[in-house]
Every structure is written in structure tokens, then in C-alpha cells.
């Protein structure tokens, strides 16, 4: 083989090696990016789903305040207080509404006392040992026996 041929072989080899390195690096980057994007899409879909669910829960007549058939923008604490029994006896129905959420509950700013007016948490659905992501929205709670409003944080724990 002539010197020129050897030189050209060397250059070709170098080009192939560099090309392979760039190709492998690009493939690794591409797959990592795709994986991250899939994860983000999953997160985004779950985020939208659970935020829609928060909206649905706020609008459920089982919780919503109403007076003489007219609804107002708050949750009735007396309804929340007794809801657990209702959901347990109609679990199939509420499973279709709440889907695969692990837990739904409302946290209220604490005050002293034992009445439902002073309850600091309303457990609406599911158990409390989940590890899923928590989505929350502030809500207005109405206590009809006292004719007073408090602020609660409606929280749902979604699946991971």
C-alpha cells in the first residue's frame, strides 16, 4: 500500500471513529431526553387529572353549601362530617368518581373543642398511609349550625 493510501485509510478510520462516538453520544442523549419527556408527560397528565378531580369534588352536591336549592361557593362542614359513612356504604359509586386516588381529606385551621366546628381534619375517602403526590386547593367551609365560615385546604393524594 502506498503512503498516500495509508494516509487516506488513517483519515477514513478516524472519521468513522469520530462519527461513531458522536452517533453513540447523540443516541444516549436522545433516549435520555425521550425518557425525561415521557416522565414529564406522565406527571403533567396526572397533574391535570387530579386538578380536574379537585374541581369536581368542590362541585359535588354531597359537599356543596346550599340554601333553599341555591348553591353557593363553599363546602358544607356538616355534610363533610357525615360523608365518610355515605362513601363507605356506596364505595362502588364513589370509586367511579374519585378513581384511583389514595386519599381525600380537608385540613382546617385548628381551634380548641370537640364539636364538628372544631374538627381539624375531615377524612373524606381512602386511607392515610399512602405515598403518592399531594394536590391541594384552598376551600371555604361553612358551618350551618354556627353560621360561620372557615378556610380549609382540600387535599388529594394521587398515585405515584
Amino acid at each position: 500500500m502506498t503512503k498516500k493510501g495509508q494516509l487516506e485509510m488513517g483519515i477514513t478510520l478516524m472519521v468513522i471513529i469520530i462519527f461513531m462516538v458522536i452517533l453513540i453520544a447523540s443516541l444516549i442523549l436522545y433516549f435520555r431526553f425521550t425518557y425525561t419527556q415521557i416522565e414529564e408527560n406522565k406527571e403533567s397528565i396526572l397533574d391535570q387529572r387530579y386538578n380536574s378531580l379537585l374541581n369536581v369534588i368542590i362541585g359535588l352536591p354531597e359537599f356543596r353549601c346550599s340554601k333553599a336549592g341555591v348553591e353557593s361557593e363553599c363546602l358544607d362542614a356538616s355534610k363533610l362530617d357525615g360523608f365518610r359513612e355515605v362513601s363507605d356504604s356506596n364505595s362502588d359509586y364513589y370509586k367511579t368518581i374519585f378513581g384511583d386516588v389514595e386519599e381525600i381529606w380537608i385540613e382546617v385551621i385548628p381551634e380548641n373543642g370537640k364539636d364538628y366546628y372544631d374538627q381539624i381534619e375531615y377524612n373524606i375517602y381512602g386511607g392515610s398511609n399512602g405515598k403518592g403526590v399531594i394536590y391541594s386547593v384552598p376551600v371555604s367551609l361553612f358551618y350551618p349550625d354556627y353560621k360561620k365560615y372557615k378556610i380549609g385546604i382540600l387535599k388529594i393524594r394521587g398515585i405515584l
Binding site: 503512503k3 495509508q6 494516509l7 488513517g10 458522536i22 431526553f33 419527556q37 414529564e40 408527560n41 403533567s44 397533574d47 391535570q48 386538578n51 379537585l54 374541581n55 368542590i58 361557593e73 363553599c74 385551621i109 394536590y135 386547593v137 384552598p138 376551600v139 371555604s140 361553612f142 360561620k148 365560615y149 372557615k150 378556610i151 380549609g152 385546604i153
Partner: protein, 156 residues
Amino acid sequence: MKISEKPIFELGKKAQSEIIGLAIVVVLLIFALIFFVSVKNNDDNLDTRLIRTNLRANSALNALMKVNVDNDQMSRLIEDCLKQKDQKCDVAHNSLKTFLDHIFEEDYYFKVLDIGNNILIVNNNEFAFGVDCKTSISASPYIFRGLGKAELKICT
């Protein structure tokens, strides 16, 4: 065995400039790719954040205006405060701060404006809480008829 008499750094000027040109093109392509990827990701996240924050902002403002402080609702306290700047303003101011800190983990900006669109100030207490941010989602303002309004923004 000797492959080449000239090492690679002694290539002709034309070859050197071609390699530099190629390198520049590759670098530009990489920058374009990174830019595209980052812009696309931001767009996706923004849509989801907008939906979530809008619900939070409106619901939070509604809950804040309805909550009872002692025997008065917050909206009534602020209304009275806008009419006659008395001691109820201090109660409203302190309660607002407590509730807002309890509700939000993220940055927010809440303010009460009088009819002239100035922030309400009573006894050196400014009815503006949190930090005004560049990008935010605003709740529909709560109007105190003929007196002013309350606005809430959640930073995104």
C-alpha cells in the same frame, strides 16, 4: 511503519479551515437542539401550571373573603375598613396575614385597593402581602361595591 510524513496539525490551510467550519456547524446545531428542547419543555409545563394555579387563586380569594374573624366575615371587615379606618382594620390586617401564610406554600401577592386604585394603608399597616412577581396568575378581583377591590396573584 510510518503512516504519514506530516502530522495532522500540519495539514493544509484549506483543510484546517474546513475542519473549523465543520466544528462551528456542529456547535450551532447542538445549541439549536438545546434551545428547542428547553422551549418545548417550558411550554408544556406552563399549560398545566396555568390550570392548577387559576383554580387555586380563585378558590383561595373566595375562601379568604368568606372566612369569619370573630363575628364578622373578612369581606365585611375590609368593607368597614375601606369606609371608616377604625380598629377593625388591625384585626383584618393581622387575620389576612395569618390566613395567607397558612394557605400558600408558593409565592403570592395579595392587595386591597381603594376606589382610587391605591393600596389601602391604615395605621401604617399596608394591605399588601407577599411579593409582587413578574409572571403570575390572578384571581378574578373581589369587588367591594363603590369602595375598592381585593386582588390575589399566585406567582408561576
